[in-house]
């Protein structure tokens, strides 16, 4: 979230699209209700199904799964043609005025630089026209046709209401009514918040879905302000923490990137990370990357990281491909390229696409380690559970080590919520039986592996040997010790050049501004610096005081970065430093510094007249309507059909789906055709359950006991499906036999003149736990992910459905 849960109450319009906040985030949803009741907010829901969020919405419109970019581009077209943008904001705070290179173009579904042969882009044209001074050229009058705003207008001009309706199946009048409601927030003192989740990320165009709405929000001036923002509601406790500490194959803690094998030296790595400002006078915060990186290396490798060793750069692994995501991992397993797998708090047999492929991959492993408080399907993948898991145990040689671990209530630690708060929690009970903490297990593995390497040697043990491990009990570090390590500390006495205050070596850092690139500071995750200081554990704070009652509660837990609750909050004030919305100010310039209810996302003493843009993390100081070369498929979002789609791409038939989607050959053959699988399916959670965990809990199992799919009345009638009757839902990859919920809440959509039916597939049931046995939605889903992040396309694929009888056990 750019903003914070409590801040949702300040919104005038709430749009839930690409998510189902009431069902997946019922507790946080209280703030939407609060916005409605206390702030008179209007709630808009756009979803293929009429969800429980829609049941309390002021306005609902249906949409075909996988067409959000068309909807949002149509919305941008509406805002631009009806002049419903916040001009001063857009002109000053976005890159609307900057000029784009002449060579940049878009034609027939492809941006300039596409290489047909290897499906790749030469992205050199996706950038600004630079002047002789090295700065991007701009035209503040927007007369120049190469201005970002003019290119955007042109790009979205194809998305007329007719076209939106033709692609999305959303009735035109509903689309236009929503445009109108949203456009009402283009004035400075009204804000809209966008609440989204996996309904946007789980597509081959996931990142671009989100970008499209971010662009809408920028055009409306809704970023950085109270009640605004792009608010990703994280779907899994502690997925925010996971990404923060970089537990992805291509990441380092604090959203730094793991080097690639082309970056053979530290200098080479830093070359692309100098972040020279592209406009005069900009902060361009990432010019500090050296400080962040060196401090991380000191935390990881301690004394082995010195100026002479290039801060132990060579001890980091280097990537040979963009990333080793989970789809890739299972492809490797199936190809015999991966022999062992450790699943820590992860249940891929339920959670990853194409269950058959997942089961086959696990069956080829030499060993599988599962660490989980629950008896997961993954740890039982080898066992025959009947049609829901038809494993042939005698053919499977994988050795499975099932390690029961404690759960969150059985240990101290912190969780990071969607609003970036690190909240400390305390152990409430001892874990049952022989369950041990993850820390105990990981530390044990580490110690034993290191001892083995010491004894027997091996290929490049250097990183493992040099790893710092300074814990009181090296066999079971305390959560508090790790928290302090991530916060970071001074390694030597350091005197601040501005304040002249000397900090003692060994003391904890107060914040990331103290980080240095000379090896005198260490921080395991720079964005967490400030969370555990000499003043104590800031994450353990529980003071709910809320200045101005705007929902920020700055002394409750601790939010990264720097305890800031609203990111980009400089943009809550106009260029002169006065709040756009005087009723709900966040920060403002008081003549000598920035003050307000939040920690300024800006140099505190930087005058408004300094021409330093509010988006200090970018080299322009501005937010980007034109995304430059940061994403793989283009600087503007474009509508591409899902990999499995019932229709052609009416905008550009030759480029139907995302040209940059990575598809493995075997998976491509496993995509179904609309002639065989005529219906669009989408998967989702229900509020009664949390993923695949709560089916192990009796009460949750009582509340939603058994697998089902949701089918509209029209299709049910056509197919002779009875309410609660048994159906077989099949995709090219497998079939699910379960009961049908025949509902009014899914209506056929008129897509390009054809009635298109959507089938809803809730995902909670498996073959372990208390609830009734189910096949699992991932039996059906295709093994392909977002072109940037490889998040699987769970939200739009093709199935067939027919009546059948109950499965025989």
């Amino acid at each position: 979230m750019t903003n914070t849960w409590g801040d949702i109450r300040n919104a005038d319009v709430v749009i839930v699209m690409g998510g189902n906040a009431a069902e997946a985030h019922p507790c946080g949803f209280k703030w939407v209700i609060e916005a409605k009741i206390e702030n008179g907010a209007k709630l808009i829901v756009v979803d293929p199904r009429f969800t429980r969020t829609a049941s309390v919405a002021d306005y609902y419109a249906p949409i075909r799964p996988g067409t959000d970019i068309a909807f949002l581009s149509g919305l941008m077209h509406y805002l631009l043609t009806h002049d419903k943008i916040q001009h001063t904001y857009v002109k000053n705070y976005t890159n609307a005025s900057l000029l784009v290179k002449e060579e940049f173009s878009f034609q027939d579904g492809l941006f300039s630089g596409f290489n047909e042969d290897n499906h790749s882009y030469d992205k050199s044209s996706w950038d600004y026209e630079l002047g002789e001074d090295g700065f991007a050229k701009a035209d503040d009058t927007w007369q120049n046709p190469r201005c970002v705003i003019n290119l955007l207008k042109e790009h979205v001009s194809r998305y007329t209401p007719e076209m939106v309706s033709r692609i999305c199946g959303t009735p035109q009048d509903k689309f236009l009514h929503i445009c109108e409601l949203i456009a009402s927030t283009c004035v400075p003192d009204r804000a809209m918040t966008s609440l989204f989740a996996l309904g946007w990320t789980q597509h081959t165009v996931g990142v671009q879905n989100i970008r499209a709405m971010a662009m809408v929000q920028l055009l409306l001036g809704n970023i950085g302000v109270a009640g605004g923002g792009m608010n990703a509601l994280r779907g899994h406790s502690n997925i925010q923490g996971l990404t923060d500490v970089g537990l992805l194959s291509n990441q380092l803690p604090g959203y730094m990137n793991l080097p690639t094998d082309k970056e053979t030296s530290y200098d080479e790595y830093m070359k692309t990370r100098l972040f020279k400002p592209l406009r005069p006078g900009q902060t361009s915060f990432y010019q500090n990357t050296r400080k962040l990186f060196v401090s991380l290396q000191k935390a990881l490798f301690g004394d082995a990281a010195t100026a002479e060793t290039n801060w132990a750069y060579d001890l980091l692994p280097k990537l040979d491909i963009p990333l080793y995501d989970i789809i890739k991992a299972f492809e490797m397993m199936n190809n015999g390229q991966m022999g062992g797998y450790i699943c820590q708090g992860f249940n891929p047999l339920q959670a990853f696409p194409d269950r058959g492929k997942i089961r086959a991959g696990l069956s080829k492993l030499k060993f599988l380690v599962t660490m989980d408080p629950l008896d997961t399907e993954t740890s039982r993948f080898w066992q025959d559970f009947g049609p829901q898991n038809p494993a042939k145990s005698h053919e499977i040689q994988t050795e499975v080590f099932q390690l029961p671990v404690s759960c969150f209530a059985e240990e101290n630690g912190s969780l990071v919520n969607s609003a970036r708060w690190l909240q400390w929690h305390w152990k409430a009970a001892d874990p049952p039986g022989i369950a041990k903490s993850d820390l105990w297990i990981m530390a044990g593995l580490f110690q034993r592996l290191r001892a083995l390497y010491q004894k027997e040697g091996g290929a490049f043990p250097d990183s493992l040997m040099a790893m710092t491990w300074n814990y009181m009990n090296p066999w079971e570090p305390e959560p508090e010790e790790l928290a302090k390590e991530m916060n970071g500390r001074f390694l030597a006495d350091v005197t601040d050049p501005v304040t002249n205050v000397t900090s003692k070596g060994g003391t904890l850092l107060d914040g990331f501004s103290q980080l240095r690139d000379d090896g005198s500071t260490a921080s395991g995750c720079w964005i967490f610096a400030g969370s555990f200081t000499e003043k104590g554990n800031q994450m353990a704070r529980r003071d709910a005081t809320d200045p101005r009652e705007q929902g920020l509660s700055p002394n409750w837990a601790w939010a990264w970065p720097a305890n800031r609750r609203i990111l980009y909050n400089r943009a809550s004030a106009d260029p002169d430093g006065k709040p756009w919305n005087p009723r709900k100010p966040v920060i403002e310039w008081n003549g000598s510094k920035w003050v307000g209810i939040d920690v300024p996302d800006y140099p505190v003493a930087q005058k408004p007249s300094a021409n330093d843009g509010p988006f200090i993390m970018t080299v322009e100081g501005q937010a980007r309507l034109f995304g430059r070369n940061l994403l793989v498929e283009g600087p503007f979002p474009e509508h591409y059909e899902p990999m499995e789609s019932p229709v052609e791409n009416v905008l550009h038939p030759k480029v139907r789906s995302n040209p940059m989607a990575r598809v493995f050959e075997h998976d491509r053959n496993n995509f179904g055709k609309p002639s065989d699988f005529p219906f669009v399916a989408t998967t989702y959670r229900l509020t009664e359950h949390f993923h695949f965990w709560t089916k192990h809990a009796l009460i949750n199992a009582v509340l939603q006991p058994e697998e089902f799919v949701e089918i509209g009345e029209v299709l049910a009638k056509e197919k002779g499906i009875a309410q609660g009757g048994w159906v077989k839902v099949s995709s090219k990859r497998g079939e699910v036999i379960c009961k049908a919920y025949v509902t009014k809440r899914i209506k056929p959509l008129l897509v390009d003149g054809k009635a298109t039916h959507v089938i809803g597939v809730p995902l909670h049931w498996g073959f372990t736990g208390q609830a009734r046995k189910g096949y699992g939605a991932n039996t059906l889903t295709p093994s392909v992910g977002d072109a940037n992040t490889q998040t699987p396309e769970f939200k739009a694929f093709l199935v067939n459905v027919e009546t059948t009888s109950a499965p025989t056990a």
Binding site: P26, E688, V702, Q704, K739, Y741
Partner: protein
């Protein structure tokens, strides 16, 4: 379930005399359920099961999100879902938390033949006192909302207690505490009526011209009230009665029949009295006494093995 002190009773089943309530300061309480902000998450159901230690069996999917499929001796509250297409052709998904309404004039209590098995406290809560329940099921007949259910295990009737055990120590009912959107509120009945009035103004401004409070006068008002978007059609909400009423048989049982029966008993007594006055007491003859003595003797002999 729970039993507060009898000083708190204002009504008691099958009792001509309710002990006089010695505590006069107690406020009437009410639970207000604002269906317009209910998201049907069932946190209330889970909290009810947790607090009251209820664990119904894991059921089946039966064509809706309603699970368990009905109220039961261990299901005291249940979310009910109705897909409704309004006059404009737009869908509304009307979700209502079902459970005991705690009527001011409780039909269950009226119908109950077991002395003290159903009571009403001064704060308005209607409670079942299980150890006095005889499991006859008359309370089900008496209830205008079809709420109580008799357990097949212990043959006693159960329903929502409005968490009388929590309320008596100053806590809100468990469902109220668990509700994430504040759709379930609890307080004095007057406060809840004021809350509802505010909500109704908001709903009317959002196009629900017939929004209103459900506090049906037919049962003397209820201590569980709803804010409805369509107060003119309560039955849209999964069969919430438009005009709830206590079954005529039950009303007759306590209304018409009871005085009639009393009158009958009185008449019989009077008739006996006048018979005695006019005819005099019945005397027995010597033959009658001998006959009786012989019968007693014979019966005793038969009993000897």
């Amino acid at each position: 379930m729970s039993d507060l002190q009898s000083q708190d009773y204002i009504r008691r089943s099958a009792s001509t005399m309710t002990p006089p309530a010695t505590r006069s300061h107690e406020e009437q309480v009410a639970k207000l359920i604002d269906v317009s902000r209910c998201i049907g998450c069932k946190a209330c159901q889970a909290a009810c099961m947790e607090w009251n230690d209820l664990r119904p069996e894991i059921g089946y999917f039966e064509g809706s999100y309603e699970n368990p499929n009905d109220l039961g001796p261990s299901v005291w509250t249940l979310m009910k879902f109705n897909e409704y297409e309004n006059e404009q052709g737009n869908l509304e998904w009307l979700i209502r938390k079902d459970g005991c309404m705690h009527c001011e004039d409780p039909g269950c209590l009226k119908a109950c033949p077991a002395p003290g098995a159903i009571v009403q406290y001064a704060n308005g809560i209607v409670d079942f006192i299980s150890d006095k329940c005889i499991g006859c099921g008359y309370c089900i007949k008496g209830c205008p909302f079809n709420i109580p259910r008799v357990s097949k295990t212990d043959h006693k009737s159960y329903k929502c207690t409005l968490c009388s055990d929590r309320v008596t120590v100053g806590l809100e009912p468990a469902c109220v505490k668990a509700c994430p959107t504040g759709a379930i509120m609890f307080g004095s009945k007057t406060d809840m009526q004021h809350q509802a009035a505010d909500r109704i103004v908001d709903l009317k401004s959002r196009g629900f011209a017939k929004a209103g409070l459900y506090d049906p006068p037919e049962v003397g008002g209820t201590h569980v009230m709803y804010v409805l978007h369509h107060a003119d059609k309560p039955s849209l909400y999964s069969g919430l009665p438009d005009k709830p009423h206590i079954s005529y048989i039950v009303q007759a049982w306590k209304g018409l029949y009871k005085p009639l029966a009393v009158a009958g008993i009185a008449l019989a007594a009077l008739a006996g009295f006048f018979h005695w006055i006019t005819v005099g007491p019945n005397d027995t003859m010597r033959e009658d006494e001998d006959e009786a003595a012989r019968e007693i003797r014979e019966t005793k002999e038969e009993q000897v093995p």
